[in-house]
Symmetry: none
Subunit: 203 residues, 4 copies
Amino acid sequence: MRSTATGQPRTKPAEIRREELMDAAQALFLGKGFTETSVDEIVKGAGVAKGTYYVYFKTKDDVLAALRERFVARFLERLQTAADGHPPSDWIARFDRWIDAAVNTYLDERALHDLVFHQMRPTHDRLHQANPVVRDLEGLIAQGAQAGAWTADNAHLVAVMVFSAVHGAIDDAGESPGPSDRKRLVHAVQSFCRMGIGLPPAG
Amino acid sequence: MRSTATGQPRTKPAEIRREELMDAAQALFLGKGFTETSVDEIVKGAGVAKGTYYVYFKTKDDVLAALRERFVARFLERLQTAADGHPPSDWIARFDRWIDAAVNTYLDERALHDLVFHQMRPTHDRLHQANPVVRDLEGLIAQGAQAGAWTADNAHLVAVMVFSAVHGAIDDAGESPGPSDRKRLVHAVQSFCRMGIGLPPAG
Amino acid sequence: MRSTATGQPRTKPAEIRREELMDAAQALFLGKGFTETSVDEIVKGAGVAKGTYYVYFKTKDDVLAALRERFVARFLERLQTAADGHPPSDWIARFDRWIDAAVNTYLDERALHDLVFHQMRPTHDRLHQANPVVRDLEGLIAQGAQAGAWTADNAHLVAVMVFSAVHGAIDDAGESPGPSDRKRLVHAVQSFCRMGIGLPPAG
Amino acid sequence: MRSTATGQPRTKPAEIRREELMDAAQALFLGKGFTETSVDEIVKGAGVAKGTYYVYFKTKDDVLAALRERFVARFLERLQTAADGHPPSDWIARFDRWIDAAVNTYLDERALHDLVFHQMRPTHDRLHQANPVVRDLEGLIAQGAQAGAWTADNAHLVAVMVFSAVHGAIDDAGESPGPSDRKRLVHAVQSFCRMGIGLPPAG
DNA sequence: TATGAATGAGTGTTCATTCAT
DNA sequence: AATGAATGAACACTCATTCAT
């Protein structure tokens, strides 16, 4: 009942299109916030028509969710990579390394992280529990404790607190701290958290 | 021919009106989120006309800012009260008490806290630094360290991490934890943070 | 959070504004159909801003409902007026008169009638029963039957059928029949319906 | 390297495909209305791709037209069947039978009838004239009148009114009237219409 | 001070239709 | 014949903000 149609449809693999849309959305959200970005701008950014967005996402919120998943997946990959190269039994080194990687990754992606985790309302509570990153850390802490490397009565809560301390320290850091600031930061967090689980402060 | 005595005095002390508006806004924001609440609903909640809102606040964001200030002020009062009753020199007791009060206050006002601190976008960074609550804690930590009660190379960062650990633990807690859950929570946080500054875990 | 505002608000009595909106909507609906008319066009037609529409009507469908009510009310007035001037006891004259008025009124307002009664879906069934016009006719038929002026075992069904015959005949008539066409139409309907209730055909 | 035998033959006789599309459309239209049904849903219902729809129909309205034609054709068949078995010269029996068949068929297919006749806007006028069902009835009435079985000055108008009376009575009936309700209905309509053309009421 | 009718730019979402494969 | 990714105009509805009274 409506009229329409002109531009030539340029078919691309669905995965590519979706990623392009996500990339465009991420850039805009990061630049001006989620609410302040319109779907119109997203599609303009991705170089597709309005309707195409809705071929790949059900609602506006939908990209944000997709962005979150992608962020977590990439984050975990990075932690994984960082953890490799240490003998699994060197618990303390792994713990230090985890914190180091977390701090630096978050610093690199702080804005993205905030976007993806603070934006949506009914998200705040139970967030950490469901958060795979926390789960990863919790596993490490529980295993290390079991191996006698440190003490942690409640591995989950400790993981949450370590995770939060990392966050807090990062949020507190300036916009783009230099390498030495980062070192200091990592060191402070490591010391605090090491001590928090009964280890001596970081060397 | 005066009007009948029905209409109540339409003018109220400005401070009262303002508070009523804030109360209405807070209730609504808490219930359905900031974005999801309209100015219309706020004025309806406060029992005034649309225009009246704009007599007391310049924009919609304005109430949120006012709400934040009020929250911080009240929070500090509560911490203050909690701190009183301990000799200023019993540092460890004051530290424990601070955490206890923080955990419980935040648990009581969690939703409000989230609303007031997570809601607005260009707020995330520098937040803690500007946060009077953190400043308060930082003072305590710095003084205790100076008095030799514990160790803290970087009082500010430590304060931020303690504060964050408190937050994280709370966010992780279920909707309305019972008294014993709270006790456990307080104890875990206290232990972790005590150890984080070189003290033995909480008794 | 949005910007806005320029045009000077020109306050009018609510009833006037509402009527103006309804008039604009009716003209548009009549001209191009309900679905084909946008709220934008309605407000343009009424000379007000988009939002003003929603001050007076909850949805787009809402005007249509209002239009329907107004149509029925006006229609009944007209039938009433037609019925006056005949002694209440001259049943046959009143019956003839009712049909005459109905045919002519519907012919005058055919498009409006169709708009208002055919447009909305969950309307078709039970429509006649709830229709005040049918109720009016039903009353007349029942009373006439009781007075022995004619026969009608089931006044309600007869009213429905007379009403429908009127409708059918009108729908069948060309776009704008001349006076003599109308006379013929009225006469044919009167004859058929008179006979339908056991009276001799119209003179 | 032929593809595995999974995919069923993708091409079907055009007539079948078309019917499947129409069936799907009819079911959907009946269930949720024409406007409320999307082409997407139709093709999903028919198990074909979007583009296939446009191989068989030029626009969305097109199916509705096709549905109307199919409805009328089937309806006429049924009337035809009903008429058979009576000697062509028993006019009154044929008239009664026509009404009986019409009432019952419409009751069986009321929703479909409404869909197909009320839905499209520029349809209301001239509808009955163009309607083959009315033409069929008109032929019967004209022939009966010519044969002296009854009186009808204007066979066309009478046919329209009888047809409308049938409709009205049906629309007025509840959702799914039982057999005895149907009988009563048929009887009332027959009586009214018989009398309308100068016959005694139905026995 | 308080009102509330009026504003109008802006938004998310839908969907009939096309066309390269 | 059949597909389904892509289109983009259109639309209903929202809501922060203004201002004459």
